[in-house]
Symmetry: C2
Subunit: 233 residues, 2 copies
């Protein structure tokens, strides 16, 4: 928005471009900026330069300025960035201020662990309920969240305007569960089912989590560290 008065001749073009064409690499770095700024606020920092932030985050100052400028001029020449303002802007970009509503499907070990964290609320996401098909769990509550029957998932999602489905179901059940929710207007899935959930409709967003991939990356790095490594190195 700031850019409008700076570049009066081209503002129409700039509005359209402001959020479009942001490189994926930049988007994936936003949560880390957000985390880092949260820490800086906690420490009472009021302002920070790209130089200093670059030292904390171990990236280049150039990258920080380039990244932030994908979304507009959040800083001020000669001053740097206002920590709280930048944090607020990035929160906005990441939808923290939109109050998305989520339900967790599957009340197994992972579902329960996700019910127990503060991860959601800390990021502006409200959890409404858990869903499972185990009659012993239905009607109980886990970490303050009611456990409902999967049979009620579609109507519940519709009536409560659920935005996000957190899938901790066995992979065989993932599509069936997701389809119900899509019919009820759910827009995004956080999928822990260890398979690539995918829909033709580009408006349905899926974030597939593969914890095992992360473990394997760790094993690869251990195997190839200088200490261990291949014998012919």
């Amino acid at each position: 928005m700031e850019s409008i008065d700076k570049l009066p001749g081209t503002f129409e073009k700039r509005i359209n471009e402001s959020k479009a064409n942001v490189p994926t690499a930049v988007i994936k770095r936003l949560p880390r900026y957000h985390r880092c700024l949260t820490d800086l606020i906690r420490d009472g920092r009021m302002r920070i330069s790209s130089k200093e932030l670059s030292e904390i985050m171990e990236v280049t100052a150039s990258q920080i300025r380039q990244d932030l400028n994908c979304f507009g001029g959040f800083g001020q020449q000669g001053y740097g960035y206002n920590v709280k303002y930048l944090h607020a802007k990035i929160s906005e970009l990441l939808g923290v201020t939109d109050g998305y509503r989520a339900v967790i499907i599957g009340a197994g070990n992972l579902g329960r662990a996700l019910a127990a964290t503060h991860m959601f609320e800390r990021r502006g996401v409200t959890r409404l309920a858990l869903f499972d098909n185990n009659p012993e769990l239905i009607g109980t509550s886990i970490c303050g969240l009611p456990v409902h029957s999967i049979d009620e998932l579609e109507s519940f999602s519709r009536e409560n305007a659920v935005d996000i489905g957190v899938l901790t179901v066995p992979k065989e059940a993932a599509y069936e569960v997701a389809d119900k929710m899509i019919r009820a207007g759910v827009k995004g899935f956080w999928n822990f089912a260890n398979m690539e959930l995918k829909f033709d409709n580009p408006d349905i967003i899926v974030e597939n989590v593969h914890m095992g991939d992360s473990l394997m990356t760790l094993c690869y790095a251990i195997k190839n560290s200088s200490q261990n490594g291949d014998a012919n190195a």
Copy 2:
């Protein structure tokens, strides 16, 4: 290795290069190849071409051939790739055959969820125990894994040649716990403590997991999907 007889004049150079300089981007794709090949084996497929694999995985055939060739010629011209052989080779690269040994530190909700999965053994990693400082849990067993006191962590790690520490402790405790394990010869950490664990020693490998970042990426994508998106688009 195969490259030796193909390029007799330059083999010394090639041995050094064979595993060195593999782009990070390639390494991060290996677990997905591994998963996909596991599925193909389950389905009884014997051979596959880069073309067909590219269609299944929705990447280019060129990328698949380029990626695999970072590690040697696993295929055969005019034939493609032998599914089982390729799977075995990638398993080897990822250390699945090395039988790494892990312990989980923290028997809270996440620690328990990790105790319950088959994620580790499926990737050749053996879990030996959980550690916690809650006296009520010490001496019990969770999903077949004994829960020990944190006080025993260092000696246990040394005596049992533990390779990997899975950290599900509060972030304030992460370095203290990790340092103990490093003294005991632990080489790698799978860190869920939601902070960047980092050591000067390049032989200590850390894989920092930030589940919350993944949730935020999902929210960003929902917010910016064509359906919702910014009003001025």
